[in-house]
Amino acid sequence: MPLCSMENVTKTYRLGSQTVEVLRGVSFGIEQGEFVAIIGPSGAGKTTLMNLLGCLDVPTSGRYMLSGRDMSNLTDDELSLIRNEHIGFVFQNFYLIPYATVFENVLLPTLYRDHNTNEAAKLASRLLEMVGLQERDKFRPGQLSGGEQQRVAIARAIINNPELVLADEPTGQLDSKTATEIMKILARMNQDGKAVAIITHDVNIASYAQRTIRMEDGLIV
């Protein structure tokens, strides 16, 4: 059974009186522990696909299964819980909370579930060590470089041990050397058994993936 699968998923948005069909029947799956890259020109529907994969949004029609569960008819609270437990997000702009320390940013997802504070703190320290930022745990995001911020975001994405990590242009704001470091960290996470899906338009970045899914005009081609 794949980790997640989409069957004939469509997504339309209403823009005033117009309806825009962003996804026009997408079917594909991601296996446990797989590393896939979703590439395509802007406007192809990559981010919308990512939002659906990440349970930030629900399909207009079709079916999305994650870990054997249908995501189409869940309540907002249920979707929140799914995101918290099963999915890790890495964004192009890092999106760390500016007034919290690095350490607290990593801990953030654990606040929204029943957790053992001590264990979560230990885990956060371990993850910061893994991304090479254990010395900076008391820093604020503003005091870090872009690459460092993204490493904090990655640590945050995996603290709840999700099966799927979604990265939307994770290297978009970084120079190529730093981008390579970030990709290596993502690749190592994948080797540790997590499925990773990255959205990119950079072919070099896509080359880290085992499989590339190309999108064009709301369809997988």
């Binding site: 930030l56 500016p98 007034y99 607290e104 606040l111 929204y112």
Partner: protein, 397 residues
Amino acid sequence: MKQAIQAVMAYRVRSFFCLISVALGISSIAVIVAATEGAYKRAFEIVGRFGPDSLLVIGGSEESRALGRWPKTIKLAYVEAVRQAFPTVYMVVPMTFVGDIPVSFRDKKYQTRVIGSTADYTRAWTWPVIQGSDFTEEDIKGIRNVGLIGQEVSRELFGETDPVGKYILVRRIPVQVVGVLAERGITGGGHKLDNRIVLPITTVMKKFVNETQYITAFRARFVDQHNLKAREEELRLFLRQEMRTADDQPDPFRIVSPTAIIKFLVALTGSLVAFIGIAGIICLIVAGFVLANLFLLSVKERTKEIGIRRAIGARRRDIVTQFLGESVIITSIGGIVGFILALLGSRLLTYIAEFPMYFSWKAFAVGMGLSWIVGIASGLQPASRAAQIEPIEAIRE
């Protein structure tokens, strides 16, 4: 919770202004509660000392008293008449006041008020003699020069030495001190009580005011305290009759009852309460609006933060809790600061105006309760606005 504190700290300028306005509102409200409680406490203390079963009849109509005249209208004979006419009265004590009398002991001089009364005086006012003894019926009948002195008189004239048995000069008349009255403090109207000298009424009437009939006031205590209102009215009619007052004339005397004292004190407090109350409520409303607007602004500013929190698993209600938490933290600190301000402010008020203040857990509870209400009321709308933010909108690049 920790997150909310951090956010409050992160936006500290905003938090500070909200906190101050809440603090001002809460402090005025806390002062009010304390003033009200203080007034009631003071009122009941005074009534307790005055005697909840007592009526005080003072000569002269209210009008004449207001004009500064003290016409003689009460005769000593009424005391006996009242005793006869009212079966439930258990004590009627006549009094004659003489003001500004020079008193001296050796080279020490003092100016004070002299009261002539009977041996029942200390019982009538529940005002015990703590050194020496009360004067007696014989002292009254014999028009003797004996007296009781208040604590302040004792301090001024005798210092640490025992005044009992010593002779003092009261307007050049030698009077033997037989007893010292307990410390009494001040009346509701602000009169000192510990500077008094009490002599037999006969002595005062004959030797000080040269008067055979009229006295200043008398005090009646009743066994049926619960009927005091009715007794007051009966006494009023009885005295009008005794004085042969025409129907169209106002009472040529005034009756002070415990309820009148409470009314007076409550009215005194009332004006202050109303003034500070309005100021306090305005402060709180303004604080609430400021808070609500700053929070709305803050929600807009922090759209991305809210989006990311939602993306990593925060439910809508977690966001509501977070923002309400922030506003309640600010207003709670405001409440505590306000309470401290109130404590300091009331020191000032008591210092300049001898105003009764009493801070209890009630003032604190009302202050904190109100600060929470302001926090929740002003935080609710921004918080629900925050919770409505869709993560995909918020984190769109």
